[in-house]
């Protein structure tokens, strides 16, 4: 049924041949109109909302003016000035950045070690591989909910700490909440880096290992001089994507810590959400969203560069 449906969408009658034929001299015309639906949809659902988001960030829009948002008072850069001055935006930027980087730093060694441990054949390897994916493929809202339950004051975490004579504590409020959030996200995300590292390992030709063996390399030297240089590209992309995803992660902090989020773990996406949909300061929220987009663009540009290299490499 999945295969049947799209067939009906592609109209069988031949289109009028496209007049311009630069590029590849192929026969049968260039049905470029095939991409118009995609382009139109991209414009309608992303480009227009995007422009409206920028517009919103320049007006004083709240729940009272929402009904007539084109007549909302234009206040130029006041929302931006408030974002940087009176609001806790900079605090959130710092929290999100620390959270994203720390999570990636903690998850990376786990992922790389896991990939290397699974690079040899052994009985039950397929099972272990699947098991390692579970934390990653569990929906974030489930992960967050389970950990919220484990980390509550009378929960299993404090119970287990008690066995070792450690006094239980509040994990989900106050200063600890930042570390709870980091811990849970490391738990949920290390398999991503494991998969990226594994994909890199599978591209290493066997001769390199043979050569290392013949040269009498120890396993540490093998990691350092064969494995890490060989998976570098794949790994860097993984680290970047991972950091980006943590920075953007809304679900995990939102479900794990609830709203209003504790000050120590008020990440940027949750902050924008609270400003927009709980305080109903849409204008201010819009300004904060635009600022966070600009911040996101810095790593995104690096990402584009990285993927452009491969986009070119993958072609013809």
């Amino acid at each position: 049924m999945v295969t049947g449906r799209p067939a009906a969408e592609i109209p069988p009658p031949a289109p009028p041949p496209a007049p311009n034929r630069q590029g590849r001299p192929a026969t049968g015309g260039r049905p470029l109109w095939l991409m118009w639906p995609n382009l139109v949809l991209l414009i309608v659902v992303i480009a227009i909302p995007f422009l409206i988001a920028i517009y919103i960030s320049f007006v004083d829009l709240d729940q009272y003016t929402l009904r007539r948002f084109f007549s909302a008072p234009f206040i130029a850069f006041d929302n931006y000035i408030e974002s940087f001055g009176a609001s806790n935006l900079l605090h959130s930027v710092w929290i999100s950045l620390a959270f994203a980087v720390l999570t990636t730093v903690f998850a990376a060694p786990m992922g790389i070690l896991a990939a290397m441990a699974l690079n040899t054949r052994f009985r039950g390897r397929a099972l272990v591989r699947s098991a390692f994916l579970i934390p990653y493929v569990l929906p974030s809202f489930v992960t967050a909910m389970v950990w919220r339950f484990i980390l509550q004051p009378t929960g299993a975490a404090n119970n287990i700490l008690g066995w070792f004579g450690i006094e239980g504590t509040q994990w989900l409020i106050g200063g600890n909440s930042f570390w709870a959030l980091t811990l849970v996200d490391v738990w949920a995300s290390w398999p991503f880096l494991y998969m990226m590292a594994l994909a890199g390992l599978q591209n290493i030709p066997g001769e390199l290992y043979d050569a290392a063996d013949i040269d009498g390399a120890t396993w540490r030297q093998k990691i350092r001089f064969v494995v890490l240089p060989q998976i570098r590209g794949q790994l860097l992309l993984g680290l970047l994507l991972s950091t980006l995803a943590h920075f953007n992660n809304f679900t995990l902090p939102f479900v794990l810590l609830g709203t209003p989020a504790p000050e120590a773990a008020l990440t940027l996406p949750v902050n924008v959400f609270q400003t927009s949909f709980q305080v109903f300061r849409f204008g201010l929220g819009g300004a904060m969203a635009v600022i966070s987009l600009i911040l996101m663009m810095i790593p995104a540009i690096i990402y584009l560069r990285a993927s452009r290299l491969t986009a070119d490499a993958g072609e013809e």
Binding site: G28, L66, N159
Partner: protein
């Protein structure tokens, strides 16, 4: 030869870590999966013991699995999630295929920009998209007298914002692997461009389309942000239903942790199963941008 034989530890040339370290790593990482097991245990535990953080219940409680369906509208949530995520996935895949075909087969003005946008758009923060969409839906809804916020189409439109760039990009990476010579051969043999598209490309692209549909569906299923803002009680996806239920459980007089864990397990089961089936493609899809760095 003798050099190699002196080192029995490296029989398998692919082996990197020594055996002891390999098994330490595997064991430790498997131990981190205990919370998943704990979820399962609590699903069979009495609520009072679960609330005290007991690791193993004094007796198993099977009632949770039946009671949860009436305590919370779980079936409705699952249905809403499926409808919204599946519809968005189908639309994105169908529209994505046309664009992916052009992007991989022709060169034209703006092609590079288009490809880069597809990648870049995937990193746009969700809060940046949901805010204008919410404002648009509520003010246009007011203007034409129809309530849009809380309806299914509104939710599907927001899911398209990530499903389209994602599905299109995935299909671009997929179609790129189908050699152009296949179509050229078919066209030399007398098929039209569309004949080649229908008879050659389309059948070859079906696996890619299934993958794009499945992964778009999964991203939609896991969404919390859009569904929290845009759904009413009767259109709530399972993610939101679960959260409302969790909140009521925590603040209520009697905790329903057992049922909460049952609901969590049920709502993650389809996702986990789909991921396990498409495990190989998951790795390929994730690293689609960077086969070689």
């Amino acid at each position: 030869m003798t050099v190699i034989e002196r080192r029995p530890a490296s029989r398998d040339p692919q082996r990197i870590l020594p055996r002891w370290l390999q098994w330490t790593v595997i064991t430790l990482l498997l131990l981190t999966l205990l919370p998943v097991l704990y979820m399962l245990i609590i699903a069979f535990s009495p609520d009072v013991e679960a609330a005290q953080g007991v690791l193993w219940p004094s007796e198993f409680e099977f009632g949770n699995w039946g009671a949860v369906w009436t305590t919370v509208d779980l079936a409705g949530g699952l249905f809403n999630s499926l409808v919204a995520a599946f519809t968005a996935g189908v639309i994105a895949t169908v529209f994505g295929l046309g664009a992916a075909y052009c992007l991989t087969r022709f060169t034209f003005f703006g092609r590079k920009l288009y490809l880069n946008s597809l990648v870049g758009l995937q990193s746009v923060p969700g809060v940046m998209i949901i805010l204008p969409l919410f404002v648009m839906f509520s003010s246009f809804g007011n203007a034409i007298g129809i309530q849009l916020v809380g309806t299914r189409p509104a939710l599907i439109i927001t899911y398209l914002t990530f499903a389209i760039p994602f599905a299109t990009w995935l299909l671009v990476t997929y179609l790129r692997q189908i050699p152009i010579s296949f179509e050229e051969a078919a066209m030399i043999d007398g098929l039209s461009r569309f004949g080649a598209l229908r008879k050659i490309i389309f059948p070859l692209a079906v696996p890619g389309m299934i993958i794009s549909l499945v992964f778009s569906l999964l991203v939609g299923w896991n969404d919390v942000l859009f569904a929290t803002v845009l759904t009413a009680p009767e259109t709530q996806t399972v993610a939101v239903k679960l959260q409302v239920f969790a909140a009521s459980t925590e603040s209520g007089a009697l905790p329903l942790y057992g049922q909460l864990m049952v609901a969590s397990l049920i709502s993650s089961a389809p996702v986990v199963i789909l991921y396990m089936i498409f495990q190989r493609q998951l790795v390929g899809g994730l690293s689609a941008g960077g086969e070689k760095g």
